[in-house]
């Protein structure tokens, strides 16, 4: 019993540190975005959205990579732990992906005049979002157990392996249209000021810490659910 208590204490210590670091990192990020970094010449104020947009995209990609690894590990070892990681990371990945899809149009409207542009990044992100939303829907449609875990693992693997293929197909699909030569929702322009790179890195760090924070919470939820189910089963059968 005391082992459990010790584990829980360690757990919450790490949790507090993570919280503290994340809050710190985001404070630094907000400062960097709004005070430190200079306004971009061509796009103006709106360009600052990039510091949310790009890190969200990278983190969603990272989250789906974790889904990929966890899915493979689940199919290999068949341990529920890996299934939990896959599920949690997929959910968080969809959250970040949604942020990309929301900030994208908000950034694009003042710059290009339209809400949606079928450019490479936004379109790929949309397809990615649909793949992982389908993953989540698949999980919701199946009952808990090995079937749900196995099936979602297959989608987790297929989805991630498709990312480079989707990227290139969308890119080549859109190369007829001239790309605006500035820092756009699509990519980096030729010259990014050092302070901008720095701000981007700080934001990336903050978002990464956020990912781990969210993962910790989400994974704990699943583990507690499992524990409750386990206890209910034991109780039911022992009586």
């Amino acid at each position: 019993m005391s082992e459990e208590l010790e584990e829980k204490e360690e757990d919450s210590e790490i949790n507090w540190i993570l919280w503290g670091l994340t809050v710190l990192a985001f404070s630094a990020t907000v400062y960097a975005i709004f005070v430190y970094v200079p306004t971009e010449k061509q796009e103006g104020l709106v360009q600052r959205i990039m510091y949310y947009h790009i890190p969200s995209a990278w983190l969603s990609f990272f989250a789906f990579f974790i889904v990929f690894l966890s899915s493979i590990l689940y199919l290999w070892k068949r341990e529920r732990e890996w299934d939990i990681y896959a599920q949690s990371s997929a959910e968080i990945g969809v959250v970040f992906c949604s942020l990309v899809l929301i900030t994208g149009p908000i950034w694009a409207k003042p710059i290009w005049g339209t809400w949606w542009v079928w450019d490479a990044r936004l379109t790929s992100t949309l397809v990615l979002w649909l793949i992982y939303v389908a993953y989540i829907m698949l999980r919701l449609q199946s009952d808990a157990g090995s079937m749900r875990a196995r099936y979602s693992a297959v989608i987790g693997i297929a989805g991630f392996l498709n990312i480079p293929i989707i990227h290139f197909s969308v890119l080549w699909w859109r190369t007829f249209h001239p790309k605006p030569k500035m820092i756009t929702p699509e990519g980096f322009g030729a010259g990014m000021d050092d302070s901008m790179v720095m701000t981007l890195m700080i934001s990336l760090g903050a978002f990464t810490l956020l990912y781990f924070l969210l993962m910790g919470q989400r994974v704990r939820i699943e583990k507690m659910k499992d524990e409750i189910d386990q206890i209910k089963k034991e109780r039911f059968y022992s009586n």
Binding site: V46, R48, Y52, H53, V95, T103, L210, I221, I228, I231
Partner: protein, 49 residues
């Protein structure tokens, strides 16, 4: 909407999105922890009898 308006909107969505998600996770966490405690208590009471 001026440039500032768009920047504000983006910020609002990002922060709101993150906070709503975190808070919902934390609430679920707390609820589950309560349920777990309750369950363990009733289990102990039963075994005591």
């Amino acid at each position: 909407m001026g440039q500032l308006g768009y920047l504000f909107a983006a910020n609002a969505f990002v922060w709101a999105g993150i906070l709503i998600y975190i808070v919902s996770l934390m609430k679920r966490n707390q609820a589950l922890r309560r349920d777990l405690e309750l369950l363990k208590e009733t289990l102990e009471k039963d075994s005591d009898r």
